[in-house]
Symmetry: C2
Subunit: 310 residues, 2 copies
């Protein structure tokens, strides 16, 4: 049965100019002539943690598995080119259908970004479904946007709006690939990462890597409609959900899976970006004292978010 599934998947794949040899041999071949640096990210997503196949569609799961990797490539301001995926399927009747749905969802998003699915590996076992995607992107000629380059006085900027991803964005977010390629090409950004575990937690990581702190203007956080909606849930809705009661601002500060990009730039650069673009907000500035601080009263802001517990 595995061979027939692999054949079915191979029928869904399309040729790509950067992949002279794709699925079907011991390994795929990626053309890297003209590329100096390849950016590589890998993420594994598992059932009942990153999605739940009891209510989430296989297509949404496949989309998400690629999208979180695209978000990592976006955070490096690189151009995604190709990906490989390995899956392990539960041994049950509909495993083949599940696998095909996942691949369909993944491929639909891959086409949007002209990313080749260059190969993969299909396994099965008595456990639940898991998928691991590894993605490759071309670094820009300027290099990559690391998380450790923020400088004292830099503005802290973010794409899009934050909070409430639980209501749908956790599956349907648009990875900020195009935005970051454009921003990085035209402006001197200093650091960046994607918000996967919550604004305060990921900002703390950027600060830690850069050896600095951040002063956040809590009146400037771009709170999403979904965060407002989450804050207005009834007690019964909260009780039935894995996400505790929070204010809309708290959702924006601490909800995971926003997959927006948090980045820093010197003040004149940030001012130019903010003049040009409606989709970017400034949240605060980089300060010397390590930690996160309220610009309003100097109080410490707790670094909370989604920690993958062991």
């Amino acid at each position: 049965m595995e061979q027939s599934l692999i054949s079915s998947i191979q029928l869904l794949l399309t040729p790509h100019p950067r992949v002279p040899l794709g699925s079907g041999d011991d390994a795929a071949v990626l053309d890297v002539r003209g590329t100096n640096q390849l950016v590589i990210s890998t993420d594994m997503l598992t059932d009942k943690v990153d999605f739940d196949l009891h209510h989430d569609a296989a297509q949404d799961v496949g989309r998400k598995a690629l999208a979180v990797n695209l978000s990592d490539i976006a955070a490096m301001a690189a151009k995604p080119v190709a990906a490989v995926a390995s899956v392990v399927l539960p041994k049950r009747q509909e495993a083949e259908q599940l696998a095909l749905g996942v691949v369909e969802g993944l491929l639909a998003l891959a086409r949007e970004y002209d990313v080749a699915l260059a190969g993969g590996d299909v396994n099965s076992w008595d456990g639940d479904f898991a998928i691991s995607v590894t993605i490759f992107g071309d670094a820009s000629e300027k290099g990559v946007l690391r998380r450790d380059g923020a400088k004292l006085g830099d503005a802290i900027l973010v794409t899009g709006e934050l909070g409430g991803s639980f209501l749908g964005k956790q599956f349907h977010f648009q990875p900020r690939v195009t935005e970051m390629l454009e921003l990085f090409e035209n402006h001197e950004l200093t650091a960046g990462l994607d918000i996967s575990d919550g604004l305060t937690l990921d900002l703390a990581r950027l600060c830690q890597a850069s050896g600095c702190g951040a002063s956040l203007d809590l009146t400037k956080i771009p709170i999403s409609q979904a965060a407002e909606q989450m804050a207005e849930r009834t007690d019964a809705e909260v009780a039935a959900s894995p996400i505790p009661r929070k204010t809309a601002l708290e959702h924006a500060l601490t909800d995971g899976e926003d997959f927006e990009i948090l980045f820093t730039a010197p003040h004149p650069v940030a001012a130019a970006i903010l003049r040009e673009r409606q989709d970017i907000s400034q949240l605060g500035v980089i300060v010397e004292q390590q930690g996160l601080w309220s610009a309003q009263d100097g109080a410490p802001i707790p670094e909370r978010g989604w920690e993958h517990g062991l």
Copy 2:
């Protein structure tokens, strides 16, 4: 706890000239200047299928997870450079120790081949342990050794000895990276793949991809000591094992996880290789009629091996 585990893993990593940015950012950076084509392979290994953590050491599991990928790179006659690994850990007390053991085993083999562990992803869940490794290699200047290039009359060659990997080789095999780099550089090989699912099954795949068949000289199969040992098991030993009773030749023809390389070359090339090297055997020749055939009596040879059942 995840962060402390990741920090412990990062302490085990060493810098590598081809990886200017490794673990710790959203993505790793691989230097590909001077490389035209990158060879990429991915394999996921899961508990109770590819190993069993009840009796297999974490170090052996980590070694195997990289080794099977190195074998794929060897089968393409490419030079391995870097790898990334994603794991999902069971939620239990010793998960951190398990993860560190796996990484240690992986890194020990990586060092032998000067392969960088460029990054990864650590997750946990209520299920069993799984690990997915993606590996990158530089294609040789002659290109890669595909599985679809075998020609009528080519000799069928194999590295090493076959069968009985269950007795230990399935964990401790030496991926044939060095051998294949040397052979491919010095000789005009036509096709190749690694024997992961058994000689007859993998030879049938090579033949199918190349649009041909194979005549096998069953007196020329390099039967390993382990295959002989497996054939001499007592009835009680067979009953207690997942591997059925077979003759030593049958073990060599059908056991999985040999991770030797099966390859083809025109006759004069094969003759030169066989003169030069003791570690290569000729098993037969490529014929027109699809399927596998005994050189002795022309009877069809069944294509049996380890099929990953769904």
